[in-house]
Symmetry: C2
Subunit: 332 residues, 2 copies
């Protein structure tokens, strides 16, 4: 059994904490604010982000870096926008005395410098080993032991294998990969296409349109993902097509929900204000546009979604344009 700290008390951090504490590991859930830690300790449930799920009694909850000094593994489940800042605070606190393995469980990018989460962690802690966890894993289902599968990626095979055995349960199946970049890129970019799938739903397009949209999204994900150094096989796996499909067709997906509301005419600022959590697909769309330009990769779908989010293109017009592109051989 291992000593594990999970950073971030959103739905995913809470679900992972419960899963691993129940498995018998020594688990601490770190949250940013002491009042949140107090609330979670008192109520033994995270009503805001994971309602109805009880936290196991052996799970420690804290907002103090001091209490994570002994962790073998640090699992990051903060918002992507907060990870760098929290990592730097942790470094400055000097509480982290051993070289804990750091695992990003975050699906997102740094939107200033387009760095992946493990790259940010390695920038801050150059000595540590890193890994990334990603796959079609709605927290609501993982927390309820509904069977799920995921991928743990590390450049160091023995780290990936250790984490596989630490994280796996009977209902949470963990597969290993060496393609850290591909796994992280798939998890970040699929949120953009989930917005688009929501647009399809909100516009009342049918199953045929949505299937075509998801197919072309996968092609675009593979195009940009391989240009960024990910492996094609990774994008065909759980953290690529699996997560894409799992998000585009799920009632749980926040990003899909944003697209649906946009298509129904709700303004973006109104939607984001009402949500209380971040829909990562929104800033990721902007970053992907920059990345596509830098890499000279064609990104027609991301462009149309960008023009809906940040321009003034009506969703119906943008989707119509996507579905009516010039006829050509399929693989062009």
């Amino acid at each position: 059994m291992a000593a594990i700290t999970i950073l971030g008390g959103g739905g995913w951090g809470t679900a992972l904490s419960g899963l691993l504490a129940e498995k018998g590991h020594t688990v601490t859930l770190w949250v940013r604010y002491s009042f949140t830690a107090d609330l979670l300790r008192r109520e033994r449930t995270n009503e805001r982000h994971l309602p109805g799920v009880l936290l196991p009694s052996n799970l420690q909850i804290t907002s103090s870096f001091a209490e994570m000094s002994s962790a073998d593994y640090l699992l990051w489940a903060t918002p992507s926008t907060a990870l760098g800042e929290i990592a730097r605070s942790l470094l400055e606190s000097k509480y982290l005395t051993k070289n804990s393995v750091m695992v990003s469980c975050v699906k997102g990018l740094d939107h200033q410098r387009y760095r992946r989460m493990t790259e940010i962690l390695e920038d801050v802690f150059p000595e540590i080993s890193t890994a990334a966890l990603s796959g079609p894993n709605h927290a609501e289902e993982v927390a309820r032991s509904i069977p799920s599968a995921t991928v743990i990626a590390s450049r160091e095979p023995e780290i990936a294998e250790h984490l596989q055995s630490i994280l796996s349960t009977k209902t949470f199946r963990v597969y290993t990969s060496a393609d850290v970049g591909g796994v992280e890129i798939g998890g970040a970019l699929k949120n953009i296409f989930a917005l688009g799938a929501g647009l399809c739903d909100g516009l009342g397009l049918g199953d045929n349109s949505k299937a075509a949209f998801v197919t072309r999204s996968l092609a675009e994900l593979i195009r940009i993902g391989t240009a960024l150094g990910g492996r094609r096989e990774t994008f065909q796996g759980l953290s690529g097509v699996g997560d894409l499909v799992g998000t585009c067709f799920s009632r749980h997906s926040r990003n899909r929900g944003v697209g649906e509301r946009l298509a129904r005419g709700e303004p973006l600022d109104h939607i984001t204000e009402s949500m209380g959590t971040v829909a990562e697909g929104i800033p990721t769309t902007r970053s992907a546009i920059h990345l596509g330009e830098r890499l000279s990769v064609e990104t027609p779908i991301i462009r149309e979604i960008h023009s809906i989010l940040y321009g003034s293109t009506p969703p119906a017009e943008a989707m119509q344009r996507l579905l009516a592109r010039d006829l050509r051989p399929e693989e062009d």
Copy 2:
């Protein structure tokens, strides 16, 4: 404009007939029985297979081979099990005097000799050019001009391009391919995985499980499909992952519906008797087992579905076995 005959008055044949007649082609819908032809002519709708859709007034309906002698294109939309027999009858009738191009719009295999539909057509009519049409195309949506995309494949590029311009409308987008085998195999095999997706639904598994199931299904489809000579890129396109996703997540899919009912405990013979139409996934599962053995391809998903359909394995047990396979690197 072209002279086109569509063979088969199921949902798909009816939808294609309407689409092409409305575009202004000279279209004849051939159905097997004269009383069906009489009924369709009288009612101008196909209540049994495509309820609520009006047939255009310029659409000819017949059950006589004599009336298709002048067709430039013959589009086959019969059940896969009837195609060979109807093709041989047509040959013997000697009514087909010109070398019409024959297009299979059928998703299925010959379950005796595991031949694809275009191979059967070429066996019967060795002189003709063939093509195959396949993609995520629920007839109910195509017939209602809900945007859809599909693939037309022919070994002869100019035939594919002609058919692309003949079949395309503003809402029915047709992409070309040279990989006839891959396009046909994708369309046939996805029905097996749709049964499995229905099993996931019927067992009340969540979005995570279903996403993992579809991901592993795609890997298995690519494995067996490439062993059969199809191109990997084809299975990543509309007629592969597109059709797979479109079927696994659609309310319209008959095969998905069969899986759902099986999971809820209904016996297979009861389900098939009540349906009135063929769920191609059932015989295709058996054929795929034979093909997998012949090609030495591992087909764990198809095996479990086979054991549910033809053995006595309870669906929950088979799916549990699939989801709990030994942990390993993802790409094994």
